[in-house]
């Protein structure tokens, strides 16, 4: 069992969830309740990772994060670190390829909140922040849980983009999915089977727990 790869996978999945959560709330809320020119374009862009082959997405991320790119050189000048073949780049790629898994459930959850419930909150004197915290997020809880579950599980299992952007550097970019592939290539079937079973169990427990949680917190309008 490659515990280093397991730790790296869990760390990547947790950090991706942490970074995507506020982003998904903001984007989901805007897309649910705002009408603006180019909204369809934004929605299509967010949904792209769902339909693009991981290698295509990985290729573009690799190109746009390289040292020759604006993003890559800017990041290097700011932090002294590279984006490609590093954990930082892997995290950024993970955030991008998980965007639809986090944003879309949040958008649907916010869309399900009746407009006049928010307006009632304003008439009760709640500020927009208080309305978000006390009314909207508790009502959007099932969407939030779904977004987290999908992001977490998808990050654990992602292979193509991780290999393209991060390569296979132990302790840096070699996640559990990569390590399994690596073990199979080395004819170490026992290790591959053990790690696959571990990944299966972790994914199942994660998804089972969050869905159980979300089931307990479903209220009124989506009962």
């Amino acid at each position: 069992m490659d515990t280093q790869a397991l730790e790296l996978s869990l760390k990547l999945a947790l950090l991706t969830c942490l970074c995507l959560l506020p982003l998904a709330i903001i984007l989901g809320r805007i897309l649910a309740w705002s009408e603006f020119a180019g909204k369809g374009f934004v929605e299509a862009t967010i949904a792209l990772p769902l339909v693009l082959p991981p290698t295509v997405l990985g290729y573009y991320l690799l190109v746009s994060m390289g040292m020759d790119s604006t993003l890559g050189s800017l990041y290097h000048s700011l932090t002294g670190r590279h984006l490609v073949f590093s954990f930082d780049g892997l995290l950024l790629a993970s955030i991008i390829f998980n965007l639809p898994f986090a944003v879309q459930p949040m958008q649907r959850a916010f869309e399900a909140i009746p407009k006049n419930v928010r307006e009632a909150a304003w008439c009760c004197g709640l500020s927009h922040w208080q309305t978000l915290w006390r009314i909207e997020l508790p009502l959007a809880w099932p969407g939030l849980i779904t977004a987290l579950a999908l992001t977490f599980a998808h990050t654990l299992g992602e292979f193509g983009v991780v290999l393209m952007v991060g390569g296979n550097i132990p302790g840096e970019t070699s996640t559990l999915a990569i390590a399994i592939y690596d073990r199979v290539q080395a004819f170490d079937n026992d290790a591959a089977a053990y790690m696959s079973a571990s990944l299966l169990l972790i994914s199942f427990i994660t998804i089972g727990t969050v869905y159980m949680l979300s089931g307990k917190r479903r209220f009124g309008h989506d009962r």
Binding site: N116, E119, W122, C123
Partner: protein, 378 residues
């Protein structure tokens, strides 16, 4: 700007719907906004609450400007202290009845909120249901929680958007009675949006009749119902009995104006503002049509007697609505109501002859505003 206590608004907009309304509502007064769907009733409430911003105009409450487009003042909804009961109540589905109310008690210290919420729940007769979620309450109970939540804010204005439309008839009557009782305890302006004209007439001090965003008439319910300013108002108030006629003469001494209704002469309320020979529309509420006893003619027969044949009889409980085709004026039908027991005693039946008096003080003249098609119909 006005310093008068109460609500004063004058707003105009073209979009999303045309709106051109001016309303003055004193503290303790209840004004009903009536009109067909799309007439702008709810838009006015939303503008007062700060949930929508009209293009032009002002809204003042107790002398404080909530909206003044010229001075670029637009107080946010959160700071207006408005109690708003939404049509479907808009309760927070994840919060108990008590917490729905405490959410609106942010102006009180945290320790006092639970006690105040209990007082408000008691005010709306919901003791013992504090911990219920909205979907564990009946329609009437939800409406009460919404009302208690609206009052929790210690509002300066109470806005009720069809608050009784989603409950059954029995609950509606009960809630209406409770609103009458509640009004005695709170001295703030109340705007009530309703489709139900009987509800408006029963609850409101004044009625504003709206059509396509414009106020057609405002006044006491009996004035609007008995003396509509135009046939359009009469139709919107579902008064029926609207016809065209020509003014023949005025008699100041006898206090009547005589009209010629396609050959039948009728005396109406003295309204010298109409000239002799002028074409007018006239209306008479069903309540001002008195049926003569068929077995024993009464002295009331002298007052605009009109005879005809009964074409329709609809009994609803104690009241029977009678449609009578007028003999002297073909193709015209008068509608009036009699007590069901009176209809039985007089053996009213379809095809029977009947005579009624159109009471002079109920016969009201209005400026003609009709199209040729409407004229043919009337």
């Amino acid at each position: 700007m006005t310093d008068k206590p109460g609500l004063s608004l004058s707003i105009r907009q073209q979009r999303p719907i045309t709106l051109q309304a001016s309303i003055e509502c004193r503290a303790g007064e209840l004004i009903a906004l009536v009109g067909p769907s799309g007439s702008g009733k709810t838009s006015i409430l939303r503008a007062v609450a700060g949930l929508a911003t009209p293009e032009q105009g002002h809204i003042h409450c107790n002398g404080e400007a909530w909206l003044d487009c010229e001075r670029r003042i637009n107080t946010p909804a959160q700071q207006r202290h408005v109690g708003f009961v939404f049509q479907d109540y808009a309760l927070f589905p994840h919060l108990s009845a008590q917490h729905n109310i405490t959410t609106a008690l942010g102006h009180l210290p945290r320790k006092q909120r639970a006690e105040r919420a209990a007082q408000l729940l008691s005010l709306v007769h919901l003791e013992g249901l504090e911990q219920r979620l909205p979907d564990q309450l009946s329609g009437g109970q939800r409406q009460r929680v919404a009302l208690a939540r609206a009052l929790a804010r210690e509002p300066r204005v109470l806005l009720l958007d069809e608050p009784f439309s989603a409950v059954d008839q029995v609950t509606r009557r009960k809630l209406q009675q409770e609103l009458v009782m509640l009004r005695r305890k709170i001295q703030i302006p109340i705007l009530l949006v309703t489709h139900d004209l009987e509800e408006a007439a029963a609850l409101a001090d004044r009625i504003y009749v709206l059509h396509r965003g414009v106020t057609l008439q405002n006044g006491a319910p009996e004035t609007v119902l008995n003396q509509p300013q135009s046939a359009q108002v009469a139709r919107l108030m579902d008064l029926g009995n609207i016809f065209t006629a020509t003014v023949e003469q005025h008699s100041e001494e006898a206090n009547f104006t005589r009209i010629n209704w396609l050959g039948q002469r009728l005396n109406g309320r003295y309204m010298p503002e109409f000239e002799s020979g002028e074409q007018v529309e006239w209306v008479i509420p069903p309540s001002h049509i008195v049926m003569h006893r068929r077995d024993r003619p009464s002295r009331g027969e002298r007052e605009n007697p009109v005879s005809g044949i009964i074409t329709e009889l609809v009994s609803l409980g104690d009241s029977t609505t009678v449609s009578m085709q007028v003999e002297s004026v073909t193709q015209k039908t008068l509608i009036f109501r009699v007590a069901t027991h009176a209809a039985r005693r007089n053996a009213l039946a379809i095809g029977a002859n009947v005579t009624v008096s159109l009471l002079t003080d109920g016969l009201h003249l209005m400026k003609a505003q009709i199209t040729p098609e409407e004229h043919a119909d009337s």
